[in-house]
Amino acid sequence: MGTPDGEPKRLGVGLAYRSAFSEQIRQNKSAIDWLEIPLDQYVDNPYALDELEELRQDFVIVPHCVGMSVGSDSVDVEYLSKVRMISDMIEAPWVTDHLGFNHTQTFTLADIVPVEWSSARARVVAENAQKIQDELGRPFALENITYHVSFPSELTEAEFLAEFLSNCDCGLLLDVTNLSVNAANHGYDPRAFLDQIPVDRIIQIHLAGCARDDEGIWHDSHDRPIPDHVLDLLQEVGSPASLRGILIERDAAYPSDLSELLDDMRHAARAVGWSG
C-alpha cells in the first residue's frame, strides 16, 4: 500500500462511494483509481462491513469521517477505536475528517462548524489530530470546511491552517470547492489563501459541484459537475509532491450513468497534469 519510505503511494483520481451508484461504480471499476467511503455509515454496523470487504477486492479505500470533532477539547477515544478497527480492516492508506467541531461540552450540533481561529485552538486541534494519527497508525488529514459565519478570531482561516499544521505532522485534505465557495461568500482571494498555507502538506483534494442560491450565497451543493472556476483553482494548486489522491464527490442529482462523474475525473486529472 505504501512507498518504500513508508508514505502512501499516489492513488490517482477517485470517487466518493455512495450506495446510490454502487452498481455503476463496479461496472466502471477500471476507470476509477480509488474510492473514499463515508466511514460513519459503517461504524457500529457490522453487517455493512461485508460491503467493504467486497469493495476492497477491487479498490483501494480511504475512509472519510465526520465524527472526530477535532476542534473540540478532546478526542472521543471510543469513536476513534472504531475508526481504527475499520481502517485496519480495509488497510486504509490514510484517514480524513473535517477541520471543525460538532460538539462541545454542552452541545451537539447537526453539522461541522468552524473552530475559533486562534493560536490556542490551533494547538488543541493539532494535539487532537496528532493523537488521532498516532492511534490510527496511518496518515490523518483534515479538510477545510465551508462556513457561513465564523467566530471573531485573532487569525484568518489560512493563518490558522498554517499554524495548526506547524504544530503536528498531519496532512491537509484541501477541498478546492469549499475554498472557492468560502472565498466567494466571504470576499477573499482564494489564490492568496493558497499562498498562505503549506501546500506541501496537502495529501488529498476534494472536488464537487457548487451552486449559488437566490440570495447570491454559494453552497457546496455536490449535485452537479465541477464548474470551470473550481477546476481553474485546482490548476493553481497543481500537484504538490505530497498529494496522494484527488476525489470527486457527488451527493445528489445522481446521473443515471457515471459518464458525468468520469468526465469530472478526467478534467481533474488534466488540471493537475496527471492525465496520460
Binding site: A16, R18, S19, P38, D40, Q41, D44, N45, Y47, A48, D50, E51, E54, V66, G71, S72, D73, H98, F101, T104, Q105, T106, F107, T108, L109, A110, D111, I112, V113, V115, E116, R121, Y147, H148, V149, F151, P152, A211, E215, I217, H219, D220, S221, H222, D223, E249, D251, A252
Partner: protein
C-alpha cells in the same frame, strides 16, 4: 443556567439561538448571568455579523430538518430538530409549545422524541428526554442508528435516513414516524398490532442474512414504510398485512398527521 465553558460553546449556542448576539450587544450582563460566560467571550459574540449568523443558523436548522426529519408541523419540527442538544430542547419546549399541558399532543410529542432519541442513539439526549417527557425512553436494538453524514445532510441533498442491515441498505423518510402514535392509539384490527413480528433483511440475492424479532411499535413503523415503493421488498418480508398499512396511512392522513 446553561453552563458555557468557552468561546466555542458560546458560538455553538449562538448558532442555535441567534438572538444571543443582539443580547450581547445591548445587555451583556444578562448574557453573563444566563451563561456564566466570560466578558471576553461575550464581547466577541457581540462582534459576530448578525446577518451572517442568521444565515448560518438558518442553514443549520435546514440541515437538521433534513437530518432528523420533516416529521412534525413547523413548531414541533423546531423542537425535534433541537432534540440534538437537550439544553435547547428545554428552551424550545418552554418557548414554542404553549400547548404542552394538553395530554394528547404531549403524548404524541413524547412519542416523537422517543424516536428521536432512538434514532440518534444518543444516551445524553435519551436521558434528558426521559426526564422531560416522563416517558420511558426505549432503545430499539433491532435497528442500527440512522446514517447521518455531512454528505446527506447538506442543502439540496437527500432527506432520507437509512435503515441498515446486512449488505442491503434501505432508505426511508422520517415523515412516516409521525403517524406512529396515532396509528397505535386509534381503531385498528383486533390482531393489530401483533404481539410479535419478524423482519427479515436479505441480500440482493434474497438470501436472508438477519432475522429480527421486533416489538409491535417497530412493526407499525415498518408497515408505514410499505407505502414507499422502494421499501416494498422489506415490507413484504414482514409478517404484516399490507392492507393494514394502507388503512393506517389513510387514518393518519385523515387525522392530519401526515405532512
Amino acid at each position: 443556567m446553561a453552563r458555557i465553558t468557552g468561546a466555542q460553546d458560546l458560538f455553538a449556542h449562538a448558532l442555535l439561538e441567534p438572538s444571543l448576539v443582539t443580547t450581547a450587544q445591548v445587555n451583556p450582563d444578562l448574557l453573563k448571568a444566563r451563561f456564566a460566560a466570560s466578558d471576553a467571550d461575550i464581547k466577541r459574540l457581540a462582534r459576530i455579523d448578525e446577518a451572517g449568523l442568521a444565515r448560518a443558523a438558518h442553514i443549520l436548522h435546514g440541515k437538521r430538518r433534513r437530518q432528523l426529519g420533516w416529521i412534525l408541523p413547523a413548531t414541533r419540527t423546531l423542537l425535534f430538530d433541537d432534540a440534538v442538544g437537550h439544553v435547547v430542547v428545554t428552551d424550545y419546549l418552554d418557548s414554542v409549545l404553549p400547548w404542552r399541558e394538553s395530554d394528547e399532543p404531549r403524548q404524541q410529542l413524547a412519542e416523537a422524541l422517543r424516536f428521536s432519541a432512538f434514532l440518534q442513539e444518543d444516551v445524553r439526549v435519551s436521558a434528558a428526554l426521559a426526564q422531560l417527557t416522563a416517558f420511558e425512553v426505549v432503545r430499539y436494538d433491532v435497528m442500527t442508528r440512522p446514517i447521518i453524514t455531512r454528505e446527506n445532510a447538506n442543502p439540496g441533498r437527500t432527506s432520507s435516513g437509512r435503515l441498515t442491515g446486512g449488505t442491503e441498505i434501505v432508505s426511508f423518510d422520517y415523515d412516516v414516524l409521525a403517524m406512529r402514535s396515532s396509528a397505535l392509539s386509534h381503531e385498528l384490527p383486533e390482531k393489530w398490532p401483533p404481539a410479535e413480528t419478524h423482519i427479515v433483511l436479505h441480500r440482493n440475492d434474497r438470501e436472508p442474512i438477519r432475522i429480527f424479532r421486533v416489538e409491535p411499535s417497530v412493526a407499525c413503523l415498518l408497515v408505514s414504510y410499505a407505502s414507499i415503493p422502494r421499501l416494498a421488498d422489506l415490507a413484504a418480508q414482514c409478517e404484516i398485512e399490507l392492507v393494514d398499512a394502507e388503512r393506517i396511512i389513510s387514518q393518519s392522513i385523515a387525522m392530519g398527521m401526515l405532512l
